[in-house]
């Protein structure tokens, strides 16, 4: 009996450890696991080197050792050049990011200056894996009504689906029931972006016109068609265009401008009627 109890506790501890490892592994970047790769390399590389040496020997590659010194020297030079290039690339990326933020801020100020907005905090998030709604702390007392558009500083969040006196439920863009008619800002082509079950950070853009040229990095904005969202609110950027055998079925994946996992404050547009 005592032994069974002991075994049970050990089983539970092992399950907890497995759970923590699962959570950590599935939520971390592959890049962060490079130390595991290093550990594997320590064991695998000597064997692999041995095999390479044998293979070269068999195929009569005698220049293997002769070229070794030259290759080492060349490798060191290339490494240095590479690190210099990486350094300048990092600097450029910082400047680029800064530039983008400044541009975004300038655009936002011009774009949303005509709207009357009510600031709100996110007080509750969806507990289901299959939908994505949030609850904010403003309601009819703050002149917030059903159907109003909700935005964050980086772009569109969604629209209000129900409202009480001091709270409102918002259906976000990434919800599977959400479909927004939008335009690609560079070509002005109309597409429909929908939430998917697979990924809560991106949207699926469908109904892409057959003659439309859709490029990675193109910005997507609301089109104003449909009556819910006002025109010109930033939704996100196109990450990837998936071509299918039938061009009418092709679709694109759009990265949302708003990070819904870290969304804490939003703005509710209360006078969007004037902009339609």
């Amino acid at each position: 009996m005592n032994r069974n109890k002991k075994n049970g506790i050990i089983g539970i501890i092992i399950t907890i450890i497995i759970l923590i490892i699962l959570v950590a592994c599935t939520n971390s970047n592959v890049n962060q696991l490079s130390f595991i790769e290093n550990i594997f390399n320590v064991f695998v590389m000597p064997v692999q080197n041995g095999f390479t040496y044998l293979k070269n020997k068999i195929s009569g590659n005698d220049t293997f050792f002769a070229d070794m010194d030259t290759l080492k020297e060349e490798n060191a030079q290339l490494k240095q050049i590479n690190s210099e290039l990486e350094q300048s690339l990092r600097e450029l990326e910082v400047i680029k990011a800064e530039n983008e933020t400044l541009k975004e801020n300038l655009n936002l100020k011009q774009k949303y200056s005509d709207y009357e907005t009510v600031p709100a905090d996110v007080i509750n998030r969806d507990i289901s894996n299959y939908s994505s709604t949030i609850v904010i702390n403003v309601g009819t007392d703050d002149n917030v009504q059903e159907g109003m558009t909700v935005i964050a500083d980086s772009g569109l969040v969604g629209h209000i689906i129900s409202v009480t006196s001091d709270t409102a439920k918002v259906q976000t863009l990434v919800d599977t029931a959400s479909a927004v008619t939008s335009t690609i800002s560079t070509t002005e082509d109309t597409i429909v972006v929908q939430g998917t079950l697979d990924d809560k950070t991106s949207l699926k853009a469908t109904f892409i016109p057959t003659d439309a040229v859709v490029l990675q990095g193109d910005s997507v904005e609301t089109s104003g068609i449909g009556g819910i969202y006002p025109k010109g609110i930033h939704i996100g950027t196109i990450r990837e265009v998936i071509n299918t055998s039938n061009i009418t079925d092709r679709y694109a994946l759009v990265d949302t401008a708003v990070d819904f996992t870290k969304l804490n404050t939003v703005l509710v547009i209360t006078n969007s009627e004037t902009k339609k």
């Binding site: 049970g8 539970i12 399950t15 699962l22 939520n27 507990i127 894996n129 259906q171 029931a177 079950l197």
Partner: protein
Amino acid sequence: MKKVIAVLLLILSFFIIYFLQSNFFTWFTIARVQPNLFVIFILLIGLFAGKKVGLVLGIIFGFYLDIVIGRRIGVSGIMLGIIGLAGEYLDKNFSKESRITIILMIICSTIIFEVGTYIFSLITLPVTVEILGFLKILFIETLYNVIITIIIYPIIQKLGHILEETFKTRNILTRYF
């Protein structure tokens, strides 16, 4: 009196679980999929406290969830009610003293709850059918529920028996004597 206190404690437990689900488990996920603690909770109520308590609390808690965060009122209420009701029938046919049967019950309940909810949302909302995405999430969610059940199994047994003594004393007597 004992029953009233037990129900109040169950309501308190629901709010603790709700807090865990909407805070802790929103980031402690397996591949961004959360477990569904409510299914585990209601099934265990049905198993140990009987179908009446399971059904009523399932419906009340489900409706609360629908009102607070759901997109359509009623679906969670109905599905959790069914899970609570099923608890007693499962208890009559299977032994809840075994870890494996409890785990199998949790797997079935999670699948029934999520498939039911998904079908309901497909009918009532403009949702596109994504079978593969749905199955992927369902698999991870069920696995997560199983892991949690294994971890909390000793607590389930202890609290379950207390609950059973409170709600089912008469039943046990008639069944065994």
